[in-house]
Structures are given as C-alpha cells and as structure tokens.
C-alpha cells in the first residue's frame, strides 16, 4: 500500500512539471531489470518527440496491477495503457466497455498500421475473431527447455546435445541423478508448460472451440490419453526422484538459476535472469515432445503480457497512445527490446533485423523461442484463450500436486481438473452473456 501511495505521489509530482505535454499513464508489472527496460522505453519515446509524455508506473505483479486498474476504472481514474498478462486476455476482451481496440487507436491516430507486420503467432492471440487487433503484443514469451551444461558434463552427457524427446529427458535425468544431482528436472508454470504448450506442441486441443479462440463457450479437453500418458510419465519420474516439484507459478526458476536443478521447462524470458545470475554454462533447447505423436512438434503457445488501451479518455490522448505504439513497433526499437529481454520479437521486421545482426549466432539458444513460434499455426495450436483462466490454472496446480504427492492417479486428477475447470468456464459464460 505504502509503495502504491509513494508511486502515486511521485507520479503526481512529475505530472506537475510537464503541463504543456499530453500525459499518457502506463501501468505495468515489470520489476527489476525489466522495470529499467520499461523506463528506458518511455524515456526514449519522450525524447523522440515533444507532444506527448509517457509516464510508466509499476503497479505490482500482473494480478495486482489488474486489480488496481479495475478499481481505478470503476472510479473513473483508469490509466491510458494497462499491461495485462495473457491469462487475463479473455477477461479484457469480454470487457467491451472498458477497452478501446488497438487497431482502432492506431487508425484514429493516423499512424501507419499494418496488422500483417506483427508476428502472427503472437499478434493472433490478441486479435478478435473479426480480425481486429485488440491489444498490443508487448512482451510475449514462450515455453522452452533450459539445461545446465556443466551438470551435463559432470554426468557424462553431451552438453551440446540436449534431450529433444521426453524419453531422452528421462534418460538424461537418470544419469544426472546417478552423478549425484538431487534435482535432475523441474518445471515452472506446470499448467502452461506441461498442459497448455504441451497440447499445442503435439497439435491436440487443450479446450474445444480452437482452445476458446473462436468463442467463450469452450470446454476443457486436457484429459485425453496423450495428456494422461504425459502426466503418468512425470508422476513416475517424480517417484524415482527424477522430477522434483518446486512449487506453483515460477517458483522453480530460482532452483534452476541457483544450480540446484539441472533441467527445467519454463519461460524463454528466464534467459536474462540465467545470463546475469547463474554461475554455470547454460543452454536453451526446444520443449521436449513424444516423437510417436503425429504432427509433433507443432508450435508452442505464448505467455507474457500485452498492452491494453482503456476507454474514457480524450481523443488527443489516444493520438499519443497510437504514436507510442508505433514507436514500439519500429523495427530497430522492437529488435533492441527483443535482444535485451529475451521476449519474443513483436514484428517480423525486428526478427529479421536481429538475425541479420548476427545476434542469434553470438547468443546460441536465444532463437529457440522464435523458431518455436514462427511457424504456421493450426486451429489447435494458435493459442489458448479462456475465461477465468487464473482459476483454471490454480485448479490444475491443486490437482497435479495431489499426483506428485501420490494421493491421486494422473487420470483421476486430470478428469477432476477438467470438471472443475468447466465449472469456471460456465461461470464466466454466465457473467459475460
């Protein structure tokens, strides 16, 4: 609370200084090094022109800033731009009166805007069924496989040949355990890495209606034999001490960076943290898959967040927002952001620019997330957009914890998770009729 108050006071002080400019309030959830990145973006944009001034404010974690924005919107004090995580996308899309589509903002601002310039697998997620881009794909990541090269060497594994399939992961884990590693494999974001991306990667549906992309009346389908087989596999690995559960959300990230766990599936945006803090050589590889499944590997799904424009502001303000988004979309700006953070490139041009500069060659592994995403997507792999997704992910956490604890069979846990998750979808449908 005190932080928020201090932030508000600061924002107030700064706003007094610049009365001639049009102020654009931007609420975000980027802490630490990523917070510096956001501040630099605003600074660079403000320096590039004199009409508008973007004021970024850190509002806590993704769910905290969303709650804050909801309260602010209800009392008429919403920011112009709000950063919302991918699981909040369906909620934002359903809140028609609260948002202005980015496509419209850009059009009204008179800036050049070509939806085709954006990376399809990324922008597609934030695009309405009618083709209008609703939010700006600001920081998108995807699920990748991180591994500790030093630990691989110590276990007699080839550090340049990371495991590609789940069978190879199990074998590598066994060798790592034999060499004395207490935590051979772990994962962050269980639902995102082991069920959501897993489904898209194997070209099977996580939910009907194209994973909810075609309508909010979707039903969950992540209890197919393939999903059960995978959770059974992980459960067996857990019993043998090959997979160690390290908690919900991104709790496992720290155990990889500290060297405690040798392999981890998680966000591609973990790259920056590993590069700065890990005291070992590390590598990034594609998400493991089952080679006998037809269509695998397909593509993985995105995570991260996008920027939403809130309604109820002056037309001149929206012009500034449009200018700012156009600034972020410039190939050189977008390429700089991509290389700095490990988030996916926003536009195709920025990807090509990065490739030309030789960045991927100098930083092996940084292209893994991009190549996983820049593929032709299918109806089953385009992305997952569901209402009450925050609750559904928690339900999956809860049910799978029972599997790792040996209290529930994988099939039973997945069936229960689907049933409980569908109740959440029903509730969302009812609230957004």
């Amino acid at each position: 609370m005190r932080h928020k108050f201090a932030a508000a006071v600061f924002a107030g002080l700064f706003s007094m200084g610049a009365s001639a400019q049009v102020e654009i309030q931007w609420w975000h959830s980027m802490g630490g090094a990523l917070g510096e990145w956001v501040n630099d973006l605003a600074k660079d944009f403000n320096a590039s022109q004199s009409e508008y001034k973007v004021v970024p404010t850190f509002k806590g974690t993704y769910d905290e800033s969303m709650t804050a924005a909801i309260a602010a919107f209800r009392s008429g004090n919403a920011p112009h731009i709000l950063q919302v995580f991918e699981v909040g996308t369906a909620t934002m899309m359903a809140s028609k009166g609260a948002i202005v589509p980015v496509g419209k903002v850009m059009g009204d601002a008179g800036v050049k805007f070509d939806p085709a310039a954006y990376v399809p697998a990324v922008a597609g997620y934030y695009t309405a069924p009618n083709g209008q881009m609703l939010s700006f794909p600001f920081n998108s990541s995807t699920t990748v496989f991180h591994y500790n090269k030093d630990a691989f060497k110590a276990a007699g594994l080839d550090p340049e040949a990371p495991p590609k399939t789940w069978i190879e992961v199990t074998q590598a884990a066994a060798k790592l355990k034999a060499s004395g590693h207490a935590c051979p494999f772990t994962t962050s974001w269980i639902s995102w890495t082991q069920l959501e991306s897993f489904s898209a990667w194997h070209n099977v549906e996580f939910a009907t209606k194209g994973n909810g992309m075609r309508g909010i009346d979707a039903r969950l389908t992540f209890n197919t034999p393939l999903h059960v087989r995978h959770i059974e596999n992980l459960s067996n690995m857990a019993k043998q001490g090959l997979f160690v559960y390290k908690g919900r959300a991104n709790a496992a990230d720290a155990t990889f960076v500290s060297g405690e766990c040798a392999m981890a599936t998680g966000s591609s945006a973990l790259y920056g943290n590993v590069k700065r803090n890990a005291k070992f050589a590390s590598g990034i590889s594609t998400l493991p898959y089952y080679p006998d499944v037809e269509g695998a590997p397909q593509n993985t799904v995105i995570g991260g967040a996008s920027l939403w424009v809130m309604s109820g502001k002056k037309a001149t303000d929206y012009k500034g927002v449009g200018q700012f988004f156009a600034f972020l979309s410039r190939p050189e700006e977008a390429a700089k952001s991509h290389q700095r953070t490990g988030y996916l490139p926003v536009t195709i041009a920025s990807y090509e620019l990065t490739e030309k500069s030789g960045f991927y060659k100098q930083n092996p592994g940084t292209d893994v997330s991009v190549t996983q995403m820049i593929r032709k997507t299918t109806d089953k792999s385009r992305g997952i957009r569901l209402g009450n997704f925050v609750q559904i992910r928690t339900i999956i956490d809860e049910e799978l914890e029972q599997v790792w604890a040996g209290k529930k069979a994988p099939k039973e846990a997945l069936d229960t998770a689907v049933k409980r998750g569908n109740e959440q979808l029903d509730r969302f449908l009812k609230a957004n009729k």
Binding site: M66, T67, R74, E398, E401, E423, R427
Partner: protein, 293 residues
C-alpha cells in the same frame, strides 16, 4: 436531591454519539451491506453487466465439495492457532512476570514480532523451512525428517500454524502480562503461607483470576485466525498442496483479488461473517459464564 447532571436537550446526546455512530456506519455497516448486496449479484470485473442472480453464488459454493472441505481445514487451523497461541504466550507471560533483572529488555524482545506484517512473517518462516537450504529444513534433514511443505499436507499445515502463532504471541503476551501484574500479590502470598505449591497456586488462584483476559484473547485469536491470516497463507503455501491449507478467508481473498469474482467472493465473506457472529455469540453466551470478573 439528584446529584447527577441531566441533559434536557433532545439532540445533544445524538450529537455526542454522532462521531462514533458515523464511524460504525461508514466503516462497518456500509461495507457489510455492500458485501450482502454483492453476494446476490454477478458482475464482470470491469463492471457493466451487473445482474441479480439471487442465491446462485451461495448455491454454487455449497455444491463445491472443496468449499465444504475448507470448513474442516479452517476449524483445525483456527483451533490450533488459538490453543497454541494462548498457551505459549501464557507460559511466556508467567515466566516474564518472574523476571526481575533486564525485565524491560526481555519484554521488548517478545513484543517485537507484533510489528511484523503477516506476509513478511510468512516469508520469514518459508525461508527457514525451504528445503533443502532453509535452516530448519536443514536441521530436520539431519534428524531424518525430509521436510516438504509443497507436497506434504501435514508439513504445510504445521508451517502456517507456526507462522500464524508466532505472529500473534506478542499480542497475547502483552495482555497476559498486564493481567498477571494486576493480580494482588497478597492472594498468592497467602496461598504460599498455607503451603500451596507454585503449580497449585497457578491453577487455583492465578488462572481463574486471569480468566477475563483469557476470554478476551480467545475471542480476539479466533477472529485473528479467521480473518487476518490470508497474508501468511498467500506467502507460504498459497492454499496448497491441493487445497489442504486453503482456509475460508484465503479463498475469499483469492476469488476476490486474484480471480476477480466479486459475487462469489462477497458470498463467501457473508458466510464467514455469519460464522464469526455465531462463534462470538456462543462465546459470550456460554464461555463467558465461566469467567470471573
């Protein structure tokens, strides 16, 4: 002749109680009424689709076996927090009451944890119990206990109880100590002359005379464990493993502030309010009869 001052004015008493009334109305009745109203509504997070749904929110809750299970979890948690919290602080207060030298220093140290925010208290204990690097987890490992509150429900419950009790001990301690110091020394001395052992003196004289304090603290501790502990749980277990440490108030917090389901969250807080009102009435009706003022 009447000695009391009488106010003839009709409005003066109202003016005098007005500030208190205003505070009660604005800070207690208004939010409670809002919660009641919201509990029969369904609303999109950003508003705009407010709809009356009658008792739907409640029906959904009572059809959810997990919600019903969390009553049991809450009961276990609250009883253990209240019992452990009260007995440990009573023991500490009795000890502190006997300390002659360095009394202030000792008491100050015991009061400190009260200044720690619940979330910080939770994080603190998580650090100590974090396997395998945490200090306590390390010791436990040495004696053969493989601590894992991420997957072992009993470990998780123990962890949140320790954190919740630790946080509340200072408060209980302060009141117990004040209570102990207000017991006339002459009573205890008389009992000692009659040959009563310290144990007997405590149970037949000190403890009964302390009962108003104990009763007050019992009410406060139950309310504390019901309402003030979601920060600790959010910072330690997030209700896991499964839903095994998801007490009622944590679900209110989670559904309202993380999942943004205002109607469902309001319905739960109405239920919680009803439980605490009932508990408090029971305490005042039955337990208070045993209290000797």
């Amino acid at each position: 002749m009447e000695k009391r001052v009488r106010f003839k004015s009709r409005w003066l008493p109202w003016v005098l109680v007005a500030p208190q009334l205003a505070i009660t109305l604005i800070f207690f009745y208004w939010p409670a009424a809002q919660a009641l109203l919201q509990s029969v509504m369904m609303d999109a997070p950003f508003g705009g689709s407010l709809e009356f749904v009658g008792l739907d929110n409640f029906r959904q809750l009572f059809n959810d076996p997990d919600y019903l299970a969390s009553f049991r979890t809450t009961a276990i948690f609250s009883i253990l927090v209240a019992v452990c919290g009260l007995s440990i602080s009573l023991l500490l207060a009795v000890m502190a009451n006997r300390v002659v030298r360095g009394e202030r220093f000792y008491k100050t140290l015991l009061i400190w944890p009260y200044a720690v925010a619940p979330v910080v208290a939770g994080v603190l204990w998580v650090f100590m119990f974090a396997s395998p690097m945490g200090v306590i987890a390390f010791w436990l490992q040495a004696v053969g206990i493989n601590w894992n509150h991420l997957l072992n429900s009993n470990h998780a419950m123990t962890l949140i109880i320790i954190a919740a009790v630790w946080k509340q001990i200072s408060y209980n301690f302060l009141f117990f100590l004040a209570g102990l110091q207000s017991i006339p020394k002459s009573l205890i001395e008389a009992a000692a002359i009659d040959g009563a052992s310290p144990w007997r003196r405590f149970w037949t004289i000190v403890f009964p005379l302390l009962s108003p304090t104990t009763f007050f603290l019992l009410v406060i501790n139950v309310v504390y464990s019901f309402f003030d502990t979601f920060g600790i749980i959010d910072a330690t277990t997030k209700g896991g493993p499964g839903k095994d440490t998801s007490i009622l108030v944590y679900k209110v917090y989670y559904d309202g502030f993380k999942a943004m389901d205002m109607g469902g969250s309001a319905a739960q807080s109405v239920i919680l309010m009803a439980i605490v009102v009932t508990l408090t009435v029971i305490q005042f009706r039955f337990v208070e009869k045993k209290v000797q003022y």
